[in-house]
């Protein structure tokens, strides 16, 4: 511990021990505990106590009957536990009988303070820290703590109850650490007393008729099997699994969620799943006993297991697919589809039982679709994956939701009535449909997919969120549609779809709802990015009103839409898809005006998003050598940097540095690999002498921009600028230009100006800088040092323990002053 902190600690302890000086904020107590934790982890707790007797004083003091705040009491309990984690310190504290007084019956446990949940929580956490060594186990047994922990499992505070459960698991693990590890064959009857006591308690709870008790027991077991993979866990499972199996015989199965968690936790445990202890049978039995809603998560968990018997997987998959099978059955799909979905081939479940009410139906379908979506990309997903029936079911659900499907059966009619207009199911189904684009499907089904997507994109009833998902799913399906061999164009099928889709897009871009306009533009940007080069797409797009409407949306009242329009226009222009009426007088006249329009947005738009979007577009244009930019790159870069440097949004300034870097690379050649260990070829000599190469950078005032950014009040900007300047200095390392005497005063004045900038006075511009001056300034600056400073988090000073102690004392002092003022 720092001597400064040691000096402050006694004062703090006396403040904490004084009930008249309440600690206003318990986050500082948490920070204090964190600090003690780092100290005790790094060194001896005993030494800490001996060097700082005030700590022991505090622990003794809190035991006196007084009105101490529950926070300080909880803090002291946790601190004591933390200190006693080391056995020598534990013994030291035991000598003074301090620990039994803190954690035993005589302590807060019996007092009024126990009613505060924070004290109970502090008691548990203290014991949790303390229980690290065999002596601690004896202590726990002596002070009867385990019984208290049992009762705290049902505490009214969920935090306390959950911590109590975890503490039990910890104690069980600790007590068996020494005993069972040496003898893996040891039966529970031979386990230490403490462990036996806990196991009996769990057994008793599992036999109980009260669901909360069963839940507590199951949760303790789940944590045990989840965290501990020692051989003794197998012994424990063998002993308890019959009781768990008994739960399945009850109707309804109590605490089903916790039971599912437990079984999955057991199944994931390497010790248990590899042995034959009836686990798979229990899982199979559970799958068939639980209700469809409860069985879904279990089925998903089973399917995610790396190793698991094939029959069980098939059963789990059938359970997971049940709702979809039901949908297909109710809507009388082709029987072929049904066979492949109904994996069990057993009694099929009817809509009435599985999907009895609207709420149940919607909930179950959403969960099922979400589960399948999670499962789809996994390597261990069931094989063969029933792509076609899943596609069929998803399309059917979407059609039911939009009222398109015309079911003939009663069950189908009910489903239709439940699902029509249900946004939740629509969203889930569209998400899953998008995921299914990863696989292929029969041509006829893919046609149906595109048809239903088009229906959703066209329908006036699609809500904005549904529409966004429909756009996303459409893009994924278009992306996955095969390209025609030998021709870099979309397949005729997708072409046909595009032809129908493009008339829909203008309507969406004119929607009064900004979310719709925005997702329409995002979709357009994606499409152009992917197919902008393909003739069929280009023709269709140019024939539509889309490019013109997109340009109009640059002036949309909603900033998000403007930002998306900027991105879309950037793409359109890059791909040469902007509509330019052929006019001989103004060749490319309108093209220029887009640059002007984007510059206008960059310099005048009141919102950050469109300006950021403009910077992204400009950077991309510069990188790609866009025609507008290539004509007069220097002028373009100078103008953009000038505007960006005055922007109030740090992301715009940071993006300005990105653009500067691109320009730099283009002027000086590519930077070496960022990986310091990569083998780099010798840097290619610049095409011209360096001074000449730096001149364009000087002309566009890149250095002024970078230096300003170096002292930016936003750290990411400064860091980025520092990196850029370091790169530049590396590039100019070999430069040995004329360091003429004439330039020295100029360097000094620049350095002086930079110092003023650093001090916060950025008013004075640097003006035009000669390359020599720049190089000299770069060399004289401690950029590495600056980078080091910037790399540290900005609150490094405030986070120091000394500062924490001072703050806490100051707060209390301030409180004291207030009191004085009152008098």
């Amino acid at each position: 511990m720092d001597p400064e902190c040691s000096q402050l600690l006694p004062a703090l302890c006396s403040v904490l021990a004084d009930p008249r000086q309440p600690v206003a904020d318990d986050t500082c107590l948490e920070k204090l505990l964190d600090w003690f934790k780092t100290i005790t982890e790094a060194g001896s707790s005993l030494l800490l106590l001996q060097e700082n007797p005030c700590l022991l004083g505090l622990l003794c003091h809190v035991l006196k009957p007084q009105d101490l705040s529950p926070r300080v009491l909880a803090f002291s309990l946790r601190l004591a536990g933390m200190l006693a984690a080391q056995e020598d310190c534990f013994q030291y504290l035991q000598q003074g009988e301090l620990l039994p007084r803190l954690f035993g019956e005589a302590g807060p446990l019996g007092g009024a303070a126990w009613t505060a949940p924070s004290v109970r929580s502090g008691w548990i956490q203290g014991l949790r820290s303390l229980a690290r060594h065999p002596s601690a186990l004896c202590f726990l047994a002596d002070c009867g703590a385990v019984d208290t922990i049992f009762s705290l499992q049902g505490d009214s505070s969920l935090f306390v109850a959950s911590a109590a459960g975890q503490l039990l698991v910890h104690i069980l693990g600790l007590s068996l650490q020494g005993a069972a590890e040496g003898h893996p064959g040891l039966q529970t009857g031979d386990w230490p007393v403490c462990a036996q006591k806990i196991v009996s308690h769990i057994e008793e709870s599992l036999r109980s008729a009260a669901t909360p008790q069963i839940t507590q027991a199951l949760n303790v077991l789940t944590t045990t099997f989840g965290h501990c993979h020692n051989p003794w866990t197998q012994v424990l499972w063998v002993r308890l699994s019959p009781l768990v199996a008994c739960l399945l015989e009850k109707d309804p199965v109590p605490a089903a969620h916790s039971l599912v968690d437990l079984l999955l936790s057991v199944a994931r445990s390497s010790v248990l799943s590899s042995s034959s202890c009836g686990l798979w049978e229990t899982l199979a039995q559970t799958l068939s006993h639980l209700s469809p809603t409860q069985a879904g998560p279990l089925a998903l968990g089973i399917l995610k297991l790396q190793e698991c018997p094939q029959a069980l997987r098939a059963q789990a998959f059938a359970v997971l697919l049940q709702p979809l099978t039901c949908v297909l059955e109710a809507t009388a799909q082709a029987p072929g589809l049904l066979d492949s979905l109904d994996g069990t081939g057993g009694a099929s479940v009817t809509v009435d039982t599985l999907l009895p009410s609207k709420a149940a139906c919607v909930g179950l379908l959403c969960r099922t679709l979400a589960h399948l979506e999670l499962l789809q990309p996994l390597p261990q997903r069931p094989s063969p994956w029933p792509q076609a029936p899943l596609l069929g079911a998803t399309v059917t659900i979407l059609r039911l939701c939009s009222g398109l499907a015309t079911p003939t059966s009663d069950a189908g009619g009910h489903l239709c009535a439940f699902l029509v207009g249900c946004v939740r199911v629509q969203r889930a189904a569209l998400d899953f449909l998008g995921t299914l684009s990863q696989g292929t499907g029969p041509r006829e089904l893919v046609t149906r997919v595109f048809a239903v997507l088009l229906e959703y994109l066209t329908s006036p009833d699609s809500s904005p969120t549904v529409l966004k998902k429909a756009f996303q799913a459409t893009f994924r399906w278009l992306q996955s549609s095969p390209e025609t061999p030998g021709c870099s164009d979309l397949d005729p099928h997708a072409q046909l779809f595009l032809r129908e889709l493009l008339p829909v897009l203008p309507k969406r871009l004119c929607s009064p709802c900004w979310e719709v306009r925005d997702s329409g533009l995002e979709f357009l940007t994606q499409m152009i990015g992917h197919w902008g080069g393909q003739a069929g797409f280009r023709r269709a797009l140019l024939a539509s009103e889309v490019p013109e409407l997109t340009e109009q949306l640059l002036r949309d009242p909603e900033s998000y839409v403007r930002a998306s329009a900027v991105a879309a226009m950037g793409q359109l222009s890059s791909q040469g898809l902007r509509v330019t009426p052929a006019s001989p007088e103004h060749p490319g006249g309108r093209q220029k005006s887009l640059l002007a329009e984007l510059l206008r947005i960059l310099s005048t738009d009141s919102e950050g998003f469109p300006r950021r979007a403009v910077m992204h577009v400009f950077t991309q244009w510069l990188r790609d050598g866009h025609a507008d930019v290539a004509g007069d790159t220097e002028r373009f870069v100078a103008r953009v940097l000038q505007v960006a440097s005055q922007d109030l949004d740090w992301e715009v300034r940071a993006q300005g540095l990105e653009l500067a870097l691109v320009f730099l690379e283009q002027t000086l050649g590519r930077p070496s690999s960022h990986c310091p260990y990569a083998v780099t070829p010798p840097v290619a000599a610049p095409p011209s002498p360096l001074a000449q190469a730096l001149r364009p950078l000087c002309r566009v005032q890149l250095f002024e921009f970078a230096f300003r950014a170096l002292f930016d009040c936003d750290r990411p900007v400064a860091q980025k600028s520092c990196d850029l300047l370091l790169f530049l200095r590396a590039q100019t390392a070999s430069y040995s230009g004329p360091q003429g005497s004439g330039s020295v005063p100029e360097v000094a004045s620049v350095e002086a100006a930079l110092q003023r900038w650093q001090a916060g006075d950025q008013g004075q511009p640097l003006g035009y800088l000669e390359p020599e001056v720049v190089v000299a300034v770069l060399r004289s600056m401690d950029l590495e040092g600056l980078r080091g400073v910037l790399a540290e988090s900005s609150d490094r000073v405030e986070k120091s323990p000394q500062s924490l102690l001072q703050d806490m004392l100051a707060t209390v002092g301030a409180l004291g002053e207030d009191e004085a003022d009152c008098y």
Partner: protein, 658 residues
């Protein structure tokens, strides 16, 4: 209680409720879809319409060619448009005591009823309903009267001839009862019979029932009605909305505990969500105008147009349409726009609070101020000089058969740049467009109907829990075009009773109680006796006095003191019996204890027999029989009065007297 159903149109209802001694007409809707069978009335001579070929029978007989014209395969009557009136033969309408109007769309048949049936009662409606209803009628009369048509076709209505006509003329119902539009004089006379009411105001009808209008949330001043007596409650729900638009929100709570709920006026487009349709409307409007086309919106002069203008107010700037003129053309355009701003108390909370700022509640005031929205009584006059294209025109009539809209259809129909957007759900847009075919203009159908949909109805019914629901038959089955949509019908328990035009329903509910008042002095004289904790009884002798459906118990007249002459009065003059009353008995006789009591009093040889109604106690020695039943006890003994009295007194010991 009976319900006479005079209209088959579920959103333009006209029903008569007979309840207690009153006859109440619920709404007075006019089915105007009949006008779709007629040729449009052009404001400016239309060569196309006047040159349409006459229709002739298959055999070439052309005797109808003056009356019927053919256009693109459809046949239309070339005559002044006529309307299908509510049924007038089912019940004598002169016996109707009151007419309750729920909203301005449901009163359009009022002049036909009040002026031509001998009706002498009162009509009740809220102020905005009357004012805007008047505007709608005025517009209708104006549209039809300003294009006088010499010809009035009637030959085609002959039943034998009608059979030969093509659909839909062939299937048109009750054509003989179709009538031409009323005159302004009839309108004024009809409206003079209306008495204005406010929400939650209680109106007594002959002391028998009380009627109360409640906000229905659909239109300015629109109401549902509660018709209740002391022990019965009938709710009439017609044209209600739960969406947040301009009117005051719907009052649902007051509909609770109804014995019967008559449910009419649900949305006509249950599959279209109004929000989606407004979006569709705006996008299509913007797309057309951007391409240099004009937009025509056939609409009523009040109602949804206020909401559309409000949406456009927010939308036009964002869509870059600030320079596009919006025209609203109707003989009552000015009044409609101004009336809407003065009915603050009938508006939703948001709009009400604006009035205190003070600001006009509707933003169309600002559109007018900034010259973005201009309104004209007709396309003649100022409009023709201000007219600038591309533009957006709101004008009537939504049937496209009369009004300024006819001119714009003729003017703009030939260009595919222009668009007609249908927002009113009352007419089938395909039928409305039929006489304008072939049409190059784009047609968009975005019906905006804010009335309750079936999901909202099922929530409403769950909440208000009526004992019985009565509704038009259309609501008890899915729409014919979507027979699988089980969600598009009323689903309630017990199943709703349905009605159709010209049907009389006996409502399934019996009246059991009537409230009777008791005069204070009579009440004072009562001596209640508690027979059970919380239940007291008293005997009362009084005169029941009934007047104006109110019943009062009054003290009986005092017996005139017998004067000197002790001559008996004639029986007919006899006043109610005022001699000392025998006490009334109550309670039951426990047989076992009764037998014990008999034994105690020296009776022996007692036998008890159980009968279906009670018990028979046989005293064999005394040859006496005591028959104890639920509501009577008989002692049968042979001329031994002493014995009978002894037994009677024993029986009485077990009973309470008062």
């Amino acid at each position: 209680m009976k319900l006479y159903c005079l209209s088959g149109h579920p959103t333009l209802p006209c029903n008569v409720l007979k309840f207690k001694s009153t006859t109440i007409m619920l709404d007075c809707g006019l089915d105007m879809t009949s006008t779709l069978n007629f040729l449009p009335l052009p404001l400016v001579q239309s060569p196309r319409l006047s040159n349409l070929p006459g229709w002739s029978l298959k055999d070439g007989n052309a005797f109808l060619d003056k009356e019927l014209k053919e256009c693109s395969g459809h046949v239309f009557v070339d005559s002044v448009p006529e309307f299908c009136l509510p049924e007038t033969e089912l019940i004598d309408l002169s016996t109707v005591d009151v007419i309750l109007i729920s909203n301005y769309h449901c009163m359009m048949a009022l002049p036909y009823i009040t002026e031509h049936t001998g009706f002498t009662g009162t009509v009740y409606a809220t102020e905005p309903t009357v004012q805007i209803g008047r505007l709608l009628m005025e517009e209708l009369v104006n549209f039809i009267e300003r294009v006088p048509k010499a010809q009035s076709a009637s030959l085609w209505k002959n039943k034998d001839i009608q059979r030969l006509l093509p659909s839909p003329l062939k299937d048109a119902v009750e054509v003989s009862t179709w009538r031409r539009c009323y005159t302004m004089q009839e309108v004024n006379s009809a409206l003079s019979k209306i008495q204005l009411v406010g929400y939650s105001q209680k109106i007594e009808l002959f002391g028998a029932v009380q009627v109360t209008p409640l906000s229905s949330g659909y239109a300015l001043g629109s109401s549902n009605w509660i018709i209740q007596s002391h022990y019965e409650k009938v709710s009439y729900v017609s044209g209600s909305s739960l969406l947040t638009t301009h009117p005051q929100p719907m009052d649902q709570a007051s509909l609770k505990n109804s014995d019967v709920l008559v449910l009419t006026g649900l949305t006509q487009i249950p599959t279209a969500n109004p929000d989606g349709m407004v979006g569709e409307f705006c996008s299509n409007l913007a797309l057309t105008v951007r391409n240099g086309g004009n937009v025509l919106v056939p609409c009523y002069p009040s109602g949804v147009i206020y909401d559309l203008l409000e949406c456009l107010y927010q939308y036009i700037d964002s869509a870059g349409l600030s320079n596009i003129p919006f025209y609203f053309i109707s003989p009552v355009a000015n009044s409609s726009l101004e009336f809407s701003q003065i009915f603050a108390e009938w508006l939703c909370h948001n709009k009400q609070t604006k009035v205190y700022l003070p600001e006009p509640p509707f933003p169309h005031a600002e559109l007018i101020q900034t010259n973005k929205l201009k309104h004209y009584p007709s396309l003649h006059g100022d409009f023709s000089s201000d007219f600038r294209q591309p533009c957006v025109v709101f004008t009537g009539h939504p049937s496209l058969r009369f009004g300024d809209v006819v001119h714009f259809m003729e003017l703009w129909g030939k260009s595919s740049l222009n668009t007609v957007i249908f927002t009113e759900p009352d007419f089938s847009y395909l039928e409305a467009l039929a006489p304008y075919q072939p049409l190059a203009m784009k047609c968009i159908y975005c019906p905006i109907d804010t009335r309750l949909n079936f999901i909202q109805v099922s929530k409403l019914l769950k909440e208000v829990q009526p004992l019985h629901v009565v509704c038009p038959e259309q609501y008890t089955q899915p729409p014919p075009a979507q027979s699988h949509r089980m969600d598009l019908m009323i689903d309630c328990q017990p199943p709703a009773m349905s009605y159709r035009r010209a049907e009389v329903l006996a409502l399934p509910f019996k009246r059991r109680y009537e409230k009777i008042e008791i005069m204070p002095e009579l009440a004072d004289s009562l001596v209640p006796m508690e027979i059970k904790p919380g239940i007291s009884l008293a005997t009362v002798s009084a005169v029941l006095h009934t007047k104006d459906n109110k019943h009062v118990l009054q003290p009986p007249p005092r017996p005139t003191q017998p004067t000197g002459g002790k001559k008996r009065k004639r029986a007919s003059d006899d006043i109610p019996d005022c001699k000392v009353l025998k006490p009334l008995l109550s309670g039951s006789i426990p047989v076992e204890q009764f037998v014990q009591a008999l034994e105690k009093h020296g009776f022996s040889d007692i036998k008890v027999e159980d009968t279906a109604k009670g018990h028979i106690v046989l005293l064999q020695e005394a040859e006496t029989l005591i028959q104890i039943e639920e509501d009577s006890t008989h002692i049968i003994c042979d001329n031994d009065e002493m014995l009978r009295v002894r037994l009677r007194d024993l029986v009485l010991k077990f009973l309470q007297k008062f």
